[in-house]
Symmetry: C2
Subunit: 339 residues, 2 copies
């Protein structure tokens, strides 16, 4: 029996998630929640044929009618804006997979939120997990998984470089490509920047490696281009801003244990790299990088069958099994997984 899935949020990521859910035989898109498009058939909202499921905005009643196993939640990045939504899903007895970056590791950012959501999820017997490609995979889950082959880890360095010129127009503008240095600083001062999630990735990495008592320090600034670049959306001159450069440093007792470095800029190479100093050391390169638009949606939808195997509560990507094998029932069905 396929898993019943409700898509909560029909922005660009949500729509892409819902389309991918529709393409998976093991998943059944049984509902969709959004503030716009209310009353429209979700199949048509997704650009296809009508499917007999109408978009609603009354979450509590809709979830009671649809009875999803999992809600795929893609509305906002921020804990304070999503608490009510998450609680409604949990109260309806649904597991939650969310794209909210702050939910990837919420415990230090908002202990009250974390305790409330964890208690509600455990009472309801469901798991709540925030994930995505970054945070949620490249700079946190992947290094932790790689470290399982290491008897001892001294230090982890992770780099993610994204050629913003190959991504959607809104992303190119979002990373400030084409701005003068002054305009970049102005926007930064106005809070208009930031890949949300670097601290969350650093926390997941530290927790996954068993490092207690860590301090996380972040930096953020422009990535200045060393050459001219032209995309269909923006022109970047040598010496002007091509995008953003962001780091997080994890220290334990003053010593650097991990660095996370993110570059998203027009003309930057596409590459991810994890370097583990330890026994053994590991040097892992994702040649050509991990293409974010698709990978984000994939990471979210691929988490849907796996979240049901997680102990109830407010959990993280570290708690997800690598795959959901044997179906949802307690009896073991050997063979292929539900994807």
């Amino acid at each position: 029996m396929p898993l019943r899935v409700v898509q909560f949020g029909l922005g660009p990521i949500g729509r892409a998630c819902a389309r991918l859910v529709q393409s998976r035989p093991a998943l059944d898109l049984v509902g969709a929640l959004d503030l716009e498009a209310v009353g429209r058939d979700v199949g048509e909202v997704l650009g296809g044929e009508p499917v007999g499921v109408l978009v609603r905005d009354d979450a509590e009643a809709a979830l009671a009618a649809w009875r999803p196993d999992v809600v795929l939640h893609t509305t906002s990045s921020f804990l304070d804006r999503i608490e009510g939504q998450i609680m409604t899903c949990v109260a309806a007895g649904a597991h939650v997979v969310s794209s909210a970056e702050e939910l990837v590791w919420p415990f230090e950012r908002d202990a009250g939120f974390s305790e409330r959501v964890d208690a509600a999820a455990r009472r309801a017997g469901v798991a709540v997990v925030g994930t995505g490609v970054n945070p949620g995979f490249v700079m946190d889950l992947l290094p932790v998984v790689l470290s399982s082959a290491c008897a001892r880890v001294e230090r982890v360095d992770v780099w993610r470089s994204v050629d913003a010129g190959r991504r959607r127009g809104p992303l190119q503008r979002k990373v400030g490509a084409g701005l003068s240095a002054e305009a970049f600083r102005e926007r930064e001062a106005a809070g208009g920047f930031g890949h949300i999630g670097m601290v969350e990735s650093a926390r997941v990495l530290a927790a996954g490696l068993g490092w207690g008592g860590v301090e996380i320090e972040e930096t953020f600034g422009p990535h200045v281009s060393d050459a001219d670049h032209e995309t269909e959306h923006v022109t970047v001159r040598a010496g002007s801003v091509a995008g953003i450069h962001q780091t997080a440093t994890v220290r334990q007792g003053g010593a650097v244990r991990a660095t996370l470095t993110l570059t998203m800029a027009v003309g930057a190479p596409d590459e991810d790299r994890v370097l583990i100093a330890g026994d053994p050391g590991l040097d892992v390169v994702v040649r050509g990088g991990t293409f974010g638009d698709t990978a984000t949606v994939a990471a979210l939808v691929n988490a849907v069958p796996r979240v049901a195997a997680v102990r109830p509560g407010l959990r993280t990507v570290l708690d997800l099994p690598a795959a959901a094998v044997g179906g949802r029932s307690r009896s073991v069905r050997f063979g292929a997984c539900s994807r």
Copy 2:
């Protein structure tokens, strides 16, 4: 409270595992089982100071006395030789992490074994998992984890190349380095070869990717050297055997979905590579490879804190969470994991 661990098997891998367990604050080596060294202090067997734990060979009584949370099992690769041992551990209420290659995916190889062990484990409320670096990580778990960032996977190719010249003497001899082609064929006919576990890796990979109804085909043969190589253990001339070359091909409906290629030979490069054709595609290289001796032990010991989070039964590496966070109790303790 540290997890109570019993080391079952004190061969080279078992001793290395036990030493690593001793080095971990979150783990407590409370017992050791072996057919030799009975009555000796396990600390001394491991080359260190006595620790007040004597090696025993009476598993049932010893486990009842030691009350481990997890047994780290490293005796044999073969299901028929380990069933009794696994059952004894399960009956004692201990989770089992085993290095037995056939246990990494036993379901097709021996359905009877799998049903018996699964039923016993579920009754006892414990999980049984086979793991290691290969099978258990490089050619199976790692590709599956990478695929979680892919919306669609068409094909997976995995290569593992190991310079046997950098490994222990017994391994160099085990892969036939220095043999003539005729001697290699003779040993192969006598069954003296084989990296056990290629089929298991292929099964894990197929299951993790949700591919049902697959057929697995294996090949095995000599890796012939194209140059002279000399190690402290063996001399290999150009044109003679430097080691082994093994493949597994996964087909679904006649189409190739995955290939696994393993080369373990003197003078071969050290490198692992996972190539996923899909959306997005991923090309991941472990530069310098994953050093097997240490990584095998690491994969086993690092599974110990994670196995308790797995639903009771006969499970696989696909069921393990990436890390054990929050301790063993159901209450959530935010922060660092137990490693």
